[in-house]
Amino acid sequence: MPTFDFLPLLWWGLPFVAAPVIIHLINLLRHRKVPWAAMEFLLASQRKYRTQVLLKQLLLLLLRVAAVLGIVLALAQPRWKSALGRMLGGARTEHVVLLDDSYSMGDLSAEGRIGDTRCFDRGRLVVERICAELAAAQGQQEVAIGRFSAFDEKGSTAADRPAGTAVEAQAAQQGFDIRLQPVTPRLVQEVRDDLAGRSPSAAASGPRGAVAAAAGMLGGGTGAANVVWLISDFRLKDWKAADETAGLLRQLSDAGCEVRLVDCAAEGGNGRQPGNLTVERLEMAGGVPATGVLVPLEVAVRNNSDRPVRDVAVELREDALGRPGVRIAEIPAGGVGTQRFDVRFTKAGPHLVEATIPADAVADDNTRTMAVDVVDRVDVLLIDGDPSGGGRAGDAFYVATALAPGAGAPTGLRPRIEPPRSLTTLDLAPFDCIWLLDVERLDPPEVAALEAFARAGGGVVFFTGPRTKAEVVNRVLHRGGEGLFPVPLAGPVDLLPDAAGAAAAPDVVVEEHPVVAVLSGQRNPLLDAVRIERSMAVERGFEPASTSGLRRLLSLRSGGPLVVERPYGDGMVVAVLSTAAPTWNNWARGNPSWVVVMLELESHLARTRRRAESLEVGESVSVRLDAAVDEIEVDIAVPPDGTLVHQTAVALPAGGLEATLADTSVAGGYTARWRRLDGTERERLFAVNVAADEGELERIGRERLDRVLAGVAFKYDRAESLEPDTTTLAGVPLVKPLLYLLAAVLILEQLLAYSASYHAAARGKSAA
């Protein structure tokens, strides 16, 4: 469809097309009159040539009309729009350009190898070209430009907001780098400058938020034509379950909005992508983060390719200082390779551990950090149910000894033995775990404090014993599954000796669980030596709900449970249905497996609290403060260069203070520092990492995309197809061909006019 650079000239010129007809009509009135004698010859000629003359005259008139029309069109500077350019024509058009800046857009893959152009660079060029084209296009073109990462939260807000008013549409523009405004050459330059300084973010933002923001902005019903440009790499992980995004696009499409998808990812050579490895996990694999204690860490690397990878070197850094790295022998295609290593922190305080793999197609997922808050000793609260303390024969002694064997084997744990009432008098938050050892009864305030501790992520361990009353436990602690205690108890039962003899089967059976993983597999002589004489039986007929998460760690030879766990809130509760002291069993008496299992259990229960400090890019860094002891001003050092961002804590509706840094667009360690009222400085470290799944580079492919976006009238282009020069995009100028056509029409008109005898005869010819 042609468009015109000077459309008003067309409208002004069109009336002139009627000029030949008017001149023809005037000439009919301006005939020279000649009295003529030889009329009979003239009439004879007229009868003979009437049809021919009439046709020639009509054709001549049409040619003259066409000639005038051609001149008018040429003055109006017509252009023929390309597929892209066509859509850019028209009166007022609002374009919302959404650029995917998730870190997978940093993919350097090209033709099956590592190239030097990122998807993001291609997308950036597409945005620049669209803007340049809009500036050259006819009609009023307006554009808004936004990046996916800017709508992770804001986008969802816009989607939830009912669109419909201009004010709402205006509000929906928040988050756009370029808000909706007319495209001018100056704006094009601004966009170019802005994009030149941008790189893919570390976020794993999908299209949903951005599309929702576009829907919110275009829902104002301004009467303009709307176009949404989605410039992305179209990875499978973003689109395979994109029902909500598809729904939003469908709404836009149904409302008459043009949906354009521009694929920036390079075509894989022979259908293969170069391998991309992602450091998927870096975390403590047990242990206690205390000074002088060997802390086992585990790094996991995912192989996002269709070929196995061997001998992957993982570079390790501890507080920015290099330390011996590790190697992962082989990572299967699409699988994960893990490697454990030990770290011994010498100083208390926050520490940052960093694991980096060699450069590959995507850089952002090659590094992962982990924050460890190392303390001199980790406090563990042991609630001893024996009013007399039990001495060296009590439950508390055996548990405390297992958790803190002595200076020769530092575990970093510092058990603190307290009576049950301390649950209400002590601040439970600093404790890693709370162990309740054959407690006869707990008052409701004590139960409430314990439940709050567990709900907040704390670990709780119950040991039963002679003082444990099943009825009390069921009523106060289990409460039909609502309470802390994982199972309802029936009462103590003796484990009868095995009829086949003592050597036939061990009393304890190891279940599939990480805490007892070290004991699983082949028969363990240490565990075989454990004899269970009595245990607390579970109420007959108890069937846990499928969603309860109840899980066995150890079972009895008789089939009954010995150790079970169940999540409670963010925390975990473990119930050992026998005594800690060698009252009902002999496990704690000189059996090393007792120490191992207790330490593993402690690490397992504390893991939830430690893991909670790992954040993903885009998530807020929040520092909870206590108004009674903390000042409200917090400085947060932002990676990579440690720029300080000052935040003031605000009161939370639920109570307490919190300082929040919402913008965590860069992966790395964020260090929050604040002062206490007593003048001491506090510091907390947050590890912010990229979402590991963004490193999965598999593309959704056109066919699958069609299925996902069924019902959406969209146009799919590859970035290369949108890279013709601006002239082509602006439309091919038609002036030159039009002038050629005009010349042809004029020549034809002259020939026909000569043929139709409208030209003066050559001198002397008439006298012949």
Binding site: P35, A37, M39, Q46, V53, S757, Y758, S766
Partner: protein, 299 residues
């Protein structure tokens, strides 16, 4: 005819001579000055007189005896056998009004008729003249007196009614009224009742008259040089035609050519001496050409 006479006898020059009689004189004097012999001087055994030789006289007529006696050239003249009765029939219909130049067809025809009358009278022939359209509008019977030319001119200058032509009744009337055989010269554009022309001439022929048909047509009618949007309005026919003339020119010229061919054929059929005369041609030249051709036919 001398080059000088040609120069002054162009239609434009003739047109400037207001009186038809003077026009005729100018034409005829030019003609006589250019002719080598007078076609109307008849051969006879009866001697009439001697006359001093003038250039163009036939050397066979020089009287060598007189030259021997007087050393001067005289030619002998003889009395003709018969007096020629010439009847000039000039078309005065509306179609003769067309004029593309200074002389319209009728003016040209009248000048031609007057010139012929002068020539005839100067040779002692009797000349009569009629102007007609659908009937004879004015007429004068044949006379031989030199002064009769004034009567002929008077007839030719008779105001015309602008009527269409009707040849047959005119020629029939003429055939019935002419008492003796003679020379009937019809000067017309022949537009109109074409069948009537030749039927009437056939009638005259049967009465023994010698027939001459001087077909006068305007240059425009023969060449059709018109350009630009033109509305042609019939002088005799009621039709009018608005057209681009050049688009119809070819068809028009073909029709004219067919018309002339038809006229020539029919004229030959009635043994009529036919001459086509264009109004753009000088009258004297047309007259000389006509007379020369007549002379060659007589030999």
């Amino acid at each position: 005819m001398t080059p000088g006479s040609r120069q002054y006898l162009h239609p434009e020059a003739i047109a400037r001579i207001a009186r038809l009689e003077l026009r005729a004189r100018a034409v005829v004097e030019g003609v006589l000055a250019g002719l080598h012999k007078s076609p109307y001087k008849g051969q006879s055994v009866e001697f009439l007189q001697h006359r001093e030789y003038v250039r163009g006289d036939d050397l066979r007529r020089v009287d060598w005896k007189v030259w021997g006696r007087q050393d001067r050239f005289y030619v002998k003249e003889f009395e003709e056998e018969t007096n020629l009765r010439v009847t000039l029939l000039v078309d005065g219909s509306a179609s003769m009004n067309y004029a593309s130049g200074p002389l319209g067809k009728y003016d040209y025809a009248a000048t031609l008729a007057a010139s012929l009358a002068w020539l005839a009278l100067s040779h002692g022939d009797a000349v009569g003249c009629s102007v007609f359209d659908d009937k004879i509008r004015a007429s004068v019977p044949p006379r031989t007196k030199r002064s009769h030319l004034a009567s002929v001119v008077e007839v030719l200058e008779t105001p015309r009614a602008g009527r269409p032509t009707a040849f047959m009744p005119v020629l029939r009337s003429l055939a019935e009224t002419l008492p003796r055989r003679g020379l009937v010269m019809v000067i017309s554009d022949l537009l109109g009742d074409r069948d009537g022309v030749f039927q009437g001439m056939q009638l005259l022929r049967k009465r023994g008259h010698d027939l001459v048909l001087l077909h006068v047509m305007d240059d425009d009618e023969l060449d059709f040089p018109f350009e630009g949007p033109t509305r042609f309005e019939g002088l005799e026919l009621p039709d009018a035609l608005a057209c681009n003339p050049r688009s119809l020119r070819a068809g028009y010229l073909a029709a004219v050519e067919a018309f002339l061919a038809d006229v020539r054929t029919r004229a030959a059929a009635v043994r009529c001496d036919y001459s086509l005369i264009r109004t753009g041609e000088p009258v004297d030249a047309a007259l000389v050409k006509f007379l020369a051709r007549r002379a060659s036919m007589a030999v």
